[in-house]
């Protein structure tokens, strides 16, 4: 299974390493060449030596997406820092490249909810934090 991850931040790179370890083919796209360090961190060798792929490019560049393997991808994860970039690139993956599973990180709970209704698989870290904090604070001791 080929997993394409756009955005090699904390979430993107950690998921990338887990997926690679689980035996999947993993390709990461990020506009910052230095983000590669996030991928190398905690590995014995480099990310590439471990079998991973890395492409430098911005998410909306079709050429970069194709180079990173979007046409073969089974899973697409949009995990850049920007909600708006994530929502647009996820729709490109879904509507233009017909990637079977598209997962998109959205920090804003309101839009995460609305785009989920529109058929995107959104994950909202903020909503999870709200739920956990509220539960921790409000559960009787």
């Amino acid at each position: 299974m080929l997993i394409l991850i756009v955005g090699a931040g904390r979430v993107g790179s950690a998921v990338a390493k887990q997926a690679l370890e689980a035996g999947h083919e993993v390709s990461v796209l990020d506009q910052d060449p230095l983000s590669h360090e996030q991928l190398d961190k905690d590995l014995v060798d480099t990310w590439e030596d471990a079998g991973g792929r890395f492409t430098v490019g911005t998410a909306l560049e079709v050429d970069a997406l194709v180079e990173a393997g979007i046409e073969q991808a089974d899973v697409f994860i949009a995990a850049t820092r920007g909600d708006n970039t994530n929502l647009v690139v996820a729709q490109i993956a879904q509507k233009r490249f017909n990637v079977p599973r598209v997962i998109v990180r959205v920090a804003d709970p309101a839009r995460a909810a609305w785009y989920a209704e529109q058929g995107l698989q959104t994950i909202c870290p903020t909503q999870h934090a709200i739920d956990l904090v509220a539960k921790a604070a409000l559960t009787p001791a």
């Binding site: 909306l60 708006n84 929502l87 729709q91 490109i92 609305w114």
Partner: protein, 223 residues
């Protein structure tokens, strides 16, 4: 008409001014605090501070009753999403989006954001209008209505040169709507004679260009 404009840059601010002077109701939304304070000096309550990609900001601006939403921020992703939410969530009748990077135009189309206006493309078209070296200039494409208006220069010896408008062999779905001659333009009648050197404007169904263009731009004179 109630208009919401996202982005108070040069384009957004001036659009707001023009629309206000034509007695429309306008709300301009700007998410840069310093820019907002500058614009607020002039537009006062017609400008609101906030990120127009957030639903509550759009709702505070009254997007439910907006007749037109214009997204002209400097960020294409923002413009796409603002228009997408306006159209699909709030059912705004009309939207207009600005395309900053012409390479992103394909993404606007993919998401159904129409019309998407790219300054680069507009200037390119103007250049082609002034220097019609390609023979055909597309002046306007109404993609929703599936119509376009093109401009053709009639070359010496073209099949159409010297013919009356009614005699020019044109396919169905196409009409000569204007002739530009000697620095002026007029609407031709069926007996108007097309001359070499004229520029003619045609309205047509997209896809007919290749059938029409040769009548005006290919010389039939024997070599």
């Amino acid at each position: 008409m109630y208009v919401i404009i996202a982005g108070a840059g040069k384009v957004g601010w001036n659009l707001a001014r023009e629309l206000l002077s034509k007695d429309h109701e306008v709300t301009l939304i700007e998410d840069d605090r310093r820019r907002y304070l500058v614009v607020e000096q002039e537009l006062e309550h017609a400008v609101q501070y906030g990120d127009a990609t957030e639903l509550w900001v759009l709702e505070r601006a009254g997007i439910q009753r907006a007749d037109l939403v214009i997204a002209v921020t400097g960020d294409d992703e923002d413009n796409m999403l603002i228009c997408q939410m306006a159209k699909e969530k709030y059912l705004t009748q009309r939207i207009v989006a600005r395309v900053n990077n012409p390479r992103n135009l394909q993404h606007f189309k993919l998401l159904g954001i129409q019309p998407a206006v790219s300054a680069t493309d507009l200037i390119l078209r103007l250049i082609e209008h002034e220097v019609p070296q390609y023979g055909l200039v597309q002046l306007l494409a109404l993609e929703g209505e599936r119509l376009e208006i093109i401009e053709l220069e009639v070359v010496q010896g073209a099949a159409a040169a010297g013919l009356r408008v009614e005699e020019v062999p044109l396919p169905d779905g196409c009409l000569i709507i204007s002739v530009l001659r000697d620095g002026g333009g007029f609407v031709p009648k069926s007996d108007t004679v097309i001359e070499a050197g004229d520029e003619v404007l045609l309205i047509l169904d997209p896809g007919l260009e290749s059938a029409i263009t040769p009548q005006f731009t290919q010389s039939t004179a024997a070599a």
